[in-house]
Symmetry: C2
DNA sequence: ACATTAACGACAATCATTACAATATGATTA
DNA sequence: TAATCATATTGTAATGATTGTCGTTAATGT
């Protein structure tokens, strides 16, 4: 999808940042791994495959920049690293995650689901919600197969 | 509340762990700061006030142990540190948080609110939920006072 | 093409967390 | 009571992720 990267390019320019080859390479890696939840190191290694001269610090800086522009979201699943996840284009809010405590797989939920809950929180706590993070920990469908003991 | 620490003592014993003075001091600091969201370092400094001989590693291990026993929950608000939060006694699930992006305050929501959402996730994604993390980022009631521009 | 200045790359520094190895504690049993 | 065994603790070293520094490079506007 070429238009996608074009639009990100525009976002950068609007915010007065340059689109350097390194940044372009980093964004394109993220696009190619939209399903995954890559750590900075992961991104670094992947970008290095196409642009071997790139430095780790640059990747960190680029990811920080993209986070600031809300192109990606930074998440933390409790292992020691931050992970970066492309935000769905035009999505009002960040999507949710299912983390399997058996196999470690991370699945995404694009549906909002929190509409009612957010309304309640805004009203009852008088809190103006700008963003959210929702992660469920449990057993994924693949690992739960067969052994259906109700706990 | 003395019975609270007594019950934690029992939990430890049931899991075949001892309640050493260091562990007791750590738990009591957590109880005295139930409202806060202390990092391991914070806990260390506070415990040190009453038990100056305690080592940082011991605090880390104790917090890890308490996390395993589900006495505390480990959370991460995106700054580089893990924070530890006492779980409400008897609470089925971990409570939620409101993080103010203006003043940094962290408030808690004890109400579950996710019942319906979890039912949907369990059914539709065939995912057996064991735990969750829900954090809202936005403007807290104190910071939102007065300037009520609808964004 | 040229100057300005943001961006880069390599590496050092920092900060949180974990690993290690030696010592201490405390219960159990001879 | 003393020997034994397992677990816990301590201080410190090691690790691993992330950030800072600084001299160099290259993107952009004229």
């Amino acid at each position: 999808m070429e238009s996608r990267i074009e639009r990100i390019k525009k976002q950068l320019h609007n915010a007065k940042y340059k689109l350097t080859p390194q940044r372009e390479a980093t964004v394109s890696v993220l696009l190619e791994h939209e399903e995954d939840h890559l750590s900075a190191e992961d991104v670094y290694l992947l970008v290095k495959e196409k642009s071997p001269e790139i430095g780790l610090a640059t990747v960190y800086r680029t990811l920080e920049l993209l986070t600031e522009l809300k192109v990606v979201d930074k998440i933390n699943f409790g292992d020691g690293v931050s992970r970066f996840d492309l935000r769905q284009e035009g999505a009002a809010h960040f999507h949710h995650h299912l983390v399997c405590i058996e196999c470690g797989a991370v699945d995404e939920i694009q549906e909002d689901l929190l509409g009612d809950v957010e309304q309640i929180v805004e009203d009852r706590w008088n809190f103006r919600i700008k963003d959210h993070r929702l992660t469920f920990h449990g057993i994924c469908s693949r690992c739960g197969e067969g052994n259906e003991e109700k706990e």
